[in-house]
Symmetry: C2
Subunit: 691 residues, 2 copies
């Protein structure tokens, strides 16, 4: 083994400095009060974060925006049915023994952000998970959704898409609940506080807005004085019908009140109910909701460590700070981690370390409403980020239990793997995080997810600005998500009692930053990107072959562009190797020539991801400029690649009439060409040559 370089010593020193107690203390402090975006409590967390950054010796500042938020003013839900007394639901989560947090009075009532004010009184239909296929099934079975109130289960798709699907089917309102089958381990282990599972009164809050950022400023920053769309403008994309989240406890009598056909076997859930029926009715709901929709200040907080050599190259790390309740998992396990990171970097700086490139720590506000803080900031700084951003590394829920997970832009895969080999598995000292990750992936290589869905603050960076991104966390789903029970008590009992998993996230996150800030040549391998794209193209190919796609529709342009990208990545890898060799052979100082060549090569590496952006963006969702990773219509949590191709494909396969069909398959071909073109443009960027 070669003697550790100077850089490796700094990395080692950083990892050694991370302290589980420090993280735990921060988490307890930040989560002592509920802190929804726009509230005084959340401004206090902003001040705490900014103060703490400064206390650790970093330069810190904040940036406020005025954005449209909503809060519940009035909620009413009443069930009526023949031969029963009406039931007026409390719409409250119940305090549980031994958890003082759950007894607090300043927790925001359960509601759906951006649900419009409105009343509805109608018979109820059960729509399973509220997916498009669920509504198609209801139509097949002859159930009329038009004019009804839909009851649907959380779990499979974004709640805003449930509401939109229901609205498209003609529903007048929606209630969505958390079934014990999905959030209670099917009622086999009891509930929090005796186990980790969501109590029967637990409710998942959340946004039902299907756009991103402030709904009134799509594509630009909500600075004071900025242009603001009217909330009625279709471009604001706000939901059209009222909706509410409810508990399993409240869902039970509603589902019991339904007659009609028995629901399909795969629609049955975990409530104490002999069988789930579809309705509609005879149970009917009276729903009334009044929202306070109001333009409200929010605050992003930043710490910057200015790069000693290339201050204008930015390595960005971010986490949101606002929470629906206490946010011990979501998002403040990440915030505590961010503050520990700041402490670690502060320690290095005390010892004289400065990064080669700049490092920026970002604490976002109003993510829960629709990634607003990060989106407004990216929209405002888009040109600077376009020129300067090396990578964005997100941590939202840092820890919700055991099991490391990662999602990344593929050129960062190798770096993630290298780094996890240097970090100890927090649940088994005898192995590396990498080793446990491989095991949990059930493959010979660790599973790395992609960032195609919405879901957190990486969206604006990757999908709008083309900045290579990562997202890391322990445990994927957790049952008390967006409920009162996501608090410090739950975390210390079930999420991470020893805070060792938090330490592991801090280590991985910090090492990612150190490598991206200090490596002479950026640790990005586009070979992996090309390989990944090839697998997506194969997937499309096989799906097309088993569909009614006309033979004239050709995937060849896509394969051909990927082949070109592969060739470019191989050539680039050789160039990188040559430049590394040359740098190592230089004994005394570096020539200006080699510095400029490194800078030029790094520029190509960081800009190749930008080439996947197209100014027209996704068809029908033009804010999403990235043609490889972005939102798929009607499944905002989905993480598919090439969303434009898949959306066009699904529309074509669903179309019945012949003329429309020809046009729709032509649209598929157009989307294939568009994707092929951005891939070819990425090849040219990697080559750094004009044609």
């Amino acid at each position: 083994r070669p003697a550790p370089s100077h850089k490796e010593s700094w990395q080692h020193m950083f990892v050694q400095s991370i302290d589980n107690n420090s993280i735990s203390n921060h988490l307890k402090e930040i989560t002592k009060e509920p802190h929804v975006a726009g509230t005084a409590e959340n401004f206090k967390t902003a001040e705490y974060v900014e103060y703490t950054f400064k206390a650790y010796g970093l330069d810190a500042h904040h940036k406020d925006y005025d954005v449209l938020l909503t809060y519940p003013l009035h909620r009413l839900l009443v069930l009526t049915q023949p031969d029963h007394e009406p039931i007026k639901f409390s719409l409250k989560e119940k305090a549980v023994a031994g958890d003082p947090y759950s007894n607090r009075s300043n927790i925001i009532p359960t509601f759906h952000a951006y649900a419009p004010s409105g009343n509805a009184s109608a018979e109820v239909v059960y729509a399973n998970y509220g997916r498009r296929e669920d509504f198609q099934k209801l139509a097949q079975l002859g159930l009329k959704v038009e004019g009804a109130i839909v009851i649907a289960k959380y779990a499979k798709i974004y709640r805003g898409d449930i509401v939109e699907n229901a609205a498209q089917a003609g529903a007048v309102a929606v209630v969505i609940y958390s079934d014990p089958l999905d959030y209670g381990n099917n009622a086999t282990q009891g509930y929090y506080p005796s186990s980790q599972w969501l109590p029967p009164s637990g409710v998942q809050r959340g946004s039902v807005f299907r756009g991103i950022g402030d709904p009134q400023t799509p594509g630009w920053a909500s600075e004071s004085g900025a242009e603001r769309l009217s909330v009625d403008d279709p471009a604001a994309q706000l939901p059209r019908i009222p909706s509410m989240p409810i508990s399993a406890e409240d869902a039970l009598p509603i589902l019991r009140s339904l007659g009609g056909p028995v629901a399909p076997i795969e629609w049955q859930g975990g409530l104490e109910l002999s069988e789930y029926k579809l309705g509609r009715g005879p149970g009917r709901l009276d729903l009334s909701y009044v929202a306070n929709q109001t333009v409200t200040p929010i605050r992003n907080v930043f710490a910057t460590i200015v790069g000693s050599q290339e201050p204008d190259r930015l390595v960005l790390l971010g986490n949101h700070r606002d929470a629906w309740t206490f946010g011990a998992v979501d998002p403040n396990s990440g915030t505590a981690t961010l503050l520990e990171l700041a402490r670690g970097f502060g320690k290095l700086m005390e010892q004289g370390w400065r990064p080669h490139r700049s490092i920026v720590l970002c604490s976002w506000d109003a993510e829960e409403y629709s990634m607003i803080g990060s989106t407004e900031w990216v929209e405002q700084n888009i040109d600077v980020l376009d020129a300067s951003a090396v990578a964005y590394m997100n941590v939202d829920c840092a820890v919700a239990g055991p099991g490391f997970n990662a999602a990344a832009s593929p050129q960062l895969d190798d770096l993630l793997i290298e780094i996890t080999k240097q970090v100890t598995d927090p649940d088994d000292d005898d192995q590396s995080l990498y080793e446990s990750w491989v095991v949990s992936s059930n493959k010979s290589n660790p599973f790395i997810d992609r960032l195609g869905g919405g879901g957190s603050d990486f969206a604006a960076f990757l999908q709008h600005a083309g900045v290579p991104s990562t997202d890391i966390f322990f445990a994927a789903d957790y049952p008390v998500y967006h409920s009162t029970f996501d608090n410090y008590n739950w975390m210390t009992k079930f999420g991470d009692p020893l805070f060792h998993r938090h330490v592991a996230v801090t280590s991985v996150w910090g090492l990612l930053a150190l490598r991206l800030a200090d490596d002479e040549i950026l640790p990005m391998k586009y070979e992996a990107y090309a390989k990944e794209l090839h697998s997506y193209a194969l997937e499309i190919n096989s799906e097309f072959l088993s569909s009614n796609a006309p033979e004239s529709v050709s995937i060849a342009p896509l394969f051909s562009s990927i082949k070109g990208l592969q060739a470019s990545t191989h050539q680039l890898a050789q160039e990188v190797e040559a430049l590394k060799q040359e740098g190592m052979q230089m004994q005394s100082g570096l020539s200006s020539g080699i510095l400029y060549r490194r800078r030029g090569l790094n520029d190509r590496l960081l800009r190749a991801e930008r080439a996947f952006l197209d100014s027209d963006g996704l068809s029908g969702a033009s804010w999403y400029k990235h043609l490889v990773y972005g939102r798929v219509a009607n499944n905002n949590y989905g993480s598919l690649s090439f969303p434009g191709i898949w959306d066009a494909f699904h529309q074509a396969t669903e179309s019945s009439n012949d003329t429309a069909n020809t046009a729709k398959w032509a649209a598929v071909q157009h989307e294939i060409f568009r994707c092929a073109r951005v891939i070819t443009r990425a090849s040219l960027v990697l080559q750094g040559k004009i044609t």
Copy 2:
């Protein structure tokens, strides 16, 4: 005076090397045959240029595209009128004595590129210059254009807009001629060959396509295998009614055949006609036209001088090579200049010179058809140019007579001024080019035009890719434009008998390249940009005040953004000064820190122009991404700033009904906000800081 630096010596050596005979010889050679895009003759000019680049010691290569071009296959125009024999026009330009070029049989017949094939037989209406206001006037006067054939005069607007305006008014075909008032000095000095003026049989060819680039590939490169729109696709934007250019000689009997009201006094022209009447009829035309619309290879040729320090920073110089006939002015006066530039750089290289940044000489094809060669290349290389292009300097018609003219992105104004002070006026050895330029500008400062219109190959660079650009030339309009008489004989008699003006263009063009390639800090001053934007905002303000704009429409966001830009430019100027001082004080070699800071500062300077781009582009013309300089609807030759604001304003002031009016003024406000936002983004880029 300080001793000339090393760089200044190279610049001096370059200027000394430029030779008028060498330019003249190149021009004679390139223009010996007519060479329309897509023809064998034009491929020969490509080979000649590539060969010559290499002969001068430069690396050269070419890049071909397959693009939609059109050629005339059949043309018929017959005038019939009561009591007259029908006149079948020859549609030919006549040879003139002493000009062997004018007698050649391989000159392309007179036609309009992209005019659709078609027949029309209808009474004729005279529509002056074919502007929107001209058709409005006809409507006021009760003249029915619907179903008629329009005769209009060249001179004020783009010929494609004349045809479109006529089509919108319901015309079935259009003929456009060159009136002696506009192209013959009102017949006071005779015609070529006895004077410079367009002979009565002279015809202006040209494109009537209103888009840019290959009509079938809007926004992407016409590589072989690329997606191609159908020619019928509305997105291809091809003209809808047939049209033809004709001579003054042929226009005369047509105009004589018209009865109806006498045309307004300002519509009267220079033909031997007591008064121009409006028609319609009794004269009627039978027009028949068949085009060969065909996908044809074209060739761009490049020479590259790789930068010794920053090879990935590109200083681009371009000129088109294709001509409607011989092209002695348009464009090959520029081509001869480009080749002389190559000779000059080759000489410097022989002496050991290498530029700090790369210099690329570009010889474009198919500009005449709609800037196709440059547009396809920019579309293909868009991401590399976005990252790497420092500036693009265009020369189309280098010389058509005396009088220096320049247009530029405002941050290059100062550089242009500095350089013209170093070049001798070709028409008066006793003064600098700068001095004669000031005099001809009739102001205390030289007049520098802006690049808002279409017109030449800078369009894709500036308006689509946001690359700071210049365009320089001697003499603005010239009478034999796009006719047979634009040949070497005309040039040596009237355009530039001594080729000294060519020498001056070569000197300015070359010095621009040398400064932009070699200056440590890019010679770009954004103060001038801010000042210019402020004058545009004032112009909008005064126009709004004298219009029916509601008081609620506010220009304040625009003024506020410009104020922000001014502040940023002042701060940047200080930063530039400080860095220059620091560089001068360093005695032995430069630190890596200062190199990176220079690079970073230069990146901000070259990228600030990109910030004026908006991914949505101009409303209704989304290819045009630049919101300050771009095409104004219905006047493609216009050179207004903020085209989106002006277009929306004109639509609002023209709207009559109240509801539409509110929406139209809202659109004006939206455009003001959009322009303000890109200006603010440019400020952030210049600051190089995140918010």
